[in-house]
Amino acid sequence: MSQTMQAPVLPQQMTSYLTDGTSLRSWLLTTDHKRIAVLYMLSITAFFFLGGSAAALIRYNLLVPEGAIQSAETYNRLFTMHGVIMVWFFLVPAVPVTLGNFIVPLMLGARDLAFPKINLLSWYLFMIGGVCALYALFAGGVDTGWTFYAPLSSNYAQGHVVAVVAGIFISGFSTIATGLNFIITIHRLRAPGLTWYRLPVFIWSLYATSVIFVLATPVLAITLLLLTFERLFHVGVFDPRLGGDPLLFQHLFWFYSHPAVYIMILPGLGVVSEIVPVFSRKQLFGYKFVVWSSIAIAVIGFFVWGHHMFVSGQSLFASIAFSLLSFLVAVPSAIKVFNWLGTLHKGRIRFDAPMIYALGFIGLFTTGGLTGLFLAALAADVHLHDTYFVIAHFHYIMVGGMVSAYFAALHYWWPKISGRRYPEMIARASALLMFLGFNLTFFPQFILGYLGMPRRYHAYPPEFQVLNVLSSAGATILAAAYLMPLFYLTYSVFRGPRAPANPWAAIGLEWQTPSPPFTKNFAVTPIVTEGPYAYPDPGSDLADV
């Protein structure tokens, strides 16, 4: 073994975190990072299916050119609801608050995060914000799109803008607190011998994500406050008739929201970097390149927000600068993809469910990323902006990439979290079905966008119907592929076979603990002597690792 633990001295009580207190109070007032992770998991699953239902209605509407749901107003509220829920209440939290909360202390050899009570506060803030936003969305909703552009949102939009904005504002503090907790924990609570370059890539990715949490989210907070002030008092901060600048809103909004998309994808990149070595039984290729790419993405990601504003009236000089910087930010992502391919090359690949999701991620993320370059090119963006091409681009990354990575992480660490194994063959079928359904849903949208179909329209010209029907058919398959894990993972909690401590024979401190872990994680603080991916070279005998 490359990472050793001293002979454990068993304390009096060694109970699994799941059974250490069974009252509702012990769950709702817990400060155990693992229980908080489970609470979050339940919450974001609920939000995922809510946001997904909105998507289902959208795709249903788009089956016919005149729109199956009659009014444009309803359609606008649906895509706003879909965007708001999926961005702020599913994708931004997804991996960090579930797998991150659970796994980070384990990977570091720590007994909890640096600030456990703030961690619990995070969950409550998330729930309060979520309830606030959901109330508004169901009480009639908002029709501005998740981007809330002023002056539509500040002056003209009817609906519960302030309530939704308040919900997002509150949940923002939840993410700042989580990011702060992670950064401090990673700096200060590493086990002895766990130097920076021995950290798993997942930790580096979450560190990079947390930097964005802490530094970008406050700008969203002030933007939403100014929007609320404008909506309440109509002073003209964003209103050109009164001397304000609508682009001020866009600059402030995208300063957060562009790094936010890196919040959404960086954890996924980290997850794939964990899974690919394990299921190729091979060292991660180019470890230092991979970890510094995460940091580079987080930093350069702050310099590119103007690429959402190429056709908005932004100065040409600024547009050129942002376009150049956007091309630059693609480089570290590409470096990661090449490193994964280098890891796979000559590895002993096993196609377990996590690996299928991870491999799907690599292809779909690359497609989405490359199409981002089309959009970063000024001239092409003039044609493609606000079309389905943009929608396909970001769904390839967010859904094809990030949601796949979330499912990959969920399956990979499921035995650790629940102490049970899920049914492998059904899981593999689900993963393949998701890959198929996803491509059927979103590839036609690239073509639709290229042909000029605008986004956020409830109706469209009849010549686009075939592609839209294909897309909606794909969405049905995708929905099935998402529902299957909900059932079999839940089933496995109650009826699945018990999992050993290290079902994947993986290297990592989290696999040194039992499945599920004890409340205090480690009886004795482990001492680390080697890197995180020290699998034996392929070709040498595969002794029990």
């Binding site: 700008v219 109509h234 009164l242 402030l252 103007g306 009236g313 100065s315 040409l316 000089f317 600024a318």
Partner: protein, 102 residues
């Protein structure tokens, strides 16, 4: 008086002096574009508070890193965002009367 207390007091005197300086400077006739230079004494005051009262240099090293990171990102936010208005081509529009209803 201990060294720490003396340092605190000297810092306070410097801060008050700088405050009065910038107050005085504000009466000087500066063109519109140069008025933001009045922020320079304020920035010096902020640095003094950070060094003396927040003990930036003697506190945990990580704190210094975070402080520098905050300032770096602030510079990005302010610098990149102001680039747009400063370089936008503005086309003159005849002045409109303010809207009748509010």
């Amino acid at each position: 008086m201990t060294r720490q207390h003396r340092g605190n007091l000297i810092c306070w005197l410097a801060l008050v002096a700088l405050g009065l300086l910038e107050f005085g400077m504000s009466f000087a006739p500066l063109p519109h574009g140069l008025r933001p230079l009045l922020l320079v004494p304020a920035i010096v005051m902020a640095v003094l508070v950070a060094l003396a009262y927040m003990r930036l240099l003697s506190g945990p090293e990580l704190g210094r890193g975070f402080a520098i990171a905050g300032l770096f990102w602030l510079a990005i936010l302010l610098g990149l965002s102001i680039m747009d208005p400063l370089t936008r081509a503005v086309y003159a529009v005849p002045p409109m009367p303010p809207p009748a209803s509010k």
